[in-house]
């Protein structure tokens, strides 16, 4: 069998010129000018999601539902209550994978567990911070990130981490630091640590 010959420059040009472009949908040429003119004056709105985007979101929603169901439905052994789950980085990692830059906090209190998401991808990356507050009657736990304001134990709190890995909680009647252990407001038991480097 004869070996195929490499084409030369002029043959390549001839081949390229012979190639035809398929026709689009039958009415494409007729409708495009009007459609483009109409769209050019319409306010720009986000494009419709493609099927693959929808599949992606469906997958994410399914995975999220599975994680929540696992937390809520599975009878956790006493040594592995949801609070312990929150304190482990695994759950946070999974939630971060589902909602990159949108996960503000995962809170667990007497109402159950809930996830707080930002509408925008604007949550800055920082090590996850675990906080647990008990007021003698009830306890609430959360995992959040430095700079986030969250509602916990009936109050709005801003959770901050300092450059040495210490954690500061700031609220209307509360100022607490893991480094100096000072506290204002009514008596609370607070535990806080970074899920990367523990600081109590």
């Amino acid at each position: 069998m004869a070996e195929r010959r490499v084409v030369n420059n002029s043959e390549l040009d001839a081949i390229l010129r012979k190639v035809r472009v398929p026709e689009p949908a039958p009415d494409f040429w007729e409708t495009l000018p009007r459609l483009a003119a109409n769209r050019s004056t319409a306010p720009r709105v986000p494009c419709h999601r493609t099927t693959s985007s929808w599949l992606k979101w469906a997958w994410a929603a399914g995975a999220f539902a599975a994680v929540v169901a696992a937390i809520v439905v599975i009878p956790w052994p006493s040594h592995e209550r949801p609070s312990d789950l929150l304190a482990s980085a695994k759950l946070v990692d999974e939630m971060l994978a589902l909602f990159p830059s949108r996960l503000r906090a995962i809170v667990e209190d007497e109402k159950g567990m809930r996830v707080m998401l930002s509408d925008q991808r604007d949550v800055p990356a920082s090590p996850p911070l675990y906080v647990r507050i008990c007021d003698g009657h009830e306890c609430a736990s959360l995992v959040t990130f430095s700079g986030q304001e969250v509602q916990m134990a009936g109050r709005n709190l801003t959770v901050l981490s300092d450059t040495r890995g210490g954690i500061i909680l700031e609220g209307k009647d509360l100022l607490w630091s893991s480094a100096q252990s000072f506290l204002t407001g009514k008596h609370l038991t607070i535990v806080a640590k970074s899920l990367d480097t523990t600081s109590m």
Partner: protein, 180 residues
Amino acid sequence: MADEHEESERIARCRNGDHAAFELLVQAHQRMVFSIIYRMTGSVSDAEDLTQETFLRAHQQLESFRGESKFSTWLGRIAVNLSLNWRAREGRRGEIHARWAQDAIVDGGAAGELPDELSRRVQAALQRLPGVQRAALILTAYENQSHAEAARALNCNEATISWRVFAARQKLKRWLKGVS
């Protein structure tokens, strides 16, 4: 096709909000834009979407068209850059195209091909090229742009375009071995 004077008038009218003038500009250039994008993406449906997007971008950026190049060259620049961005977004799909292209070349026959088969093989080979080489080749070989015009369109220098065209042609010559 409108002459340059007529086209300049349409552009001026379009800048003043004349929809009919914009429709005429779309009519005049839609096939050229569609061809560029199809050759860049290898997909008719994506070419339809991106052709529309090209004209929307052109309308939004019409103030920036200074008439230093032909209007068609300027449109081609938008079309190519949208297609390159599409490639980046559709990276995974691009890989699939590339695999399909490789298969098509390996399996392709040598002689007596129908024009459709020839088109399919050449398009498959184009899809195998890196995006910037494909863009350079399409603008120069199909749109008859000079290397200087293609360089402006792709925001690089002329020597880079010359190298990309050369590299693209070398690859195509190898990949299209036996095609006539």
